[in-house]
């Protein structure tokens, strides 16, 4: 691997982990429930980008499927939690 990607990809990984730590702080101290749901929504986006950068570091296409699964389940869980906040139940 050329030194450009050898330096850039771990730096991107570090910034994404820092971003996940910021959302984790908001998730833990968020004053209301909708703040926590928003932090979780932001955190799955960060985790998906993390998976993509990991796939580029290891040069493997399998991480792509993990990222796709994170996107799918993150959408489902965020919508379910927002619906729960709105109505008090998920399926009525």
């Amino acid at each position: 691997m050329n030194p450009v990607l050898l330096w850039a990809l771990p730096l991107a990984l570090f910034m994404l982990v820092l971003a996940m730590l910021c959302t984790l702080v908001r998730l833990l101290k968020g004053p209301t429930a909708q703040d926590r749901v928003l932090a979780l929504d932001c955190m799955y986006l960060n985790g998906m980008l993390l998976m993509l950068v990991l796939g580029q570091i290891y040069g493997s296409g399998h991480y792509f499927e993990a990222a796709l699964l994170i996107a799918l389940f993150g959408f489902a869980s965020s919508t379910a939690m927002a619906k729960f906040l709105l109505r008090g139940e998920v399926i009525e």
Partner: protein
């Protein structure tokens, strides 16, 4: 791992795109952490779902295309999926937050403009 067949200029483009995506993700997360109220905070992660996500996806697309020697369009699938689903989630969450802010009696939220129509007035 034989990534040595990726030319240098493509590696520079990939590195710039991936670093820009990660920096935008960090920016959105810092905004989520530091903005004062919820209705300002919900704007911050939108930059991750739009510009940050697309930068990382195009970098990943270039990487896998030049690594495998052919055109691989898998990462566009995630980007399109995110572009469709994140507005749906944010609208749901925004409505829930407005509903809860009105229920708890906050004064700085707009009032509910939908009203119940009488049964006979709907068809006229």
């Amino acid at each position: 791992m034989n990534e040595t067949d990726i030319p240098l200029w493509v590696e520079i483009i990939i590195a710039v795109l991936t670093l820009a995506g990660a920096a935008l993700a960090l920016l959105g997360a810092i905004g989520l952490l530091r903005l004062p109220t919820f209705f300002e905070r919900i704007h911050a992660p939108a930059i991750i779902a739009t510009l940050g996500c697309w930068c990382c996806m195009i970098g990943s697309l270039l990487f896998f295309s030049f690594q495998s020697g052919g055109l691989t369009l898998h990462p566009l699938l995630i980007a399109l999926f995110i572009a469709i689903t994140v507005p749906v989630t944010n609208i749901f969450l925004m409505r829930a937050a407005l509903f809860r802010a009105r229920q708890s009696g906050q004064k700085n939220v707009p009032p509910n403009i939908s009203h119940v129509m009488p049964p006979g007035a709907r068809d006229s």
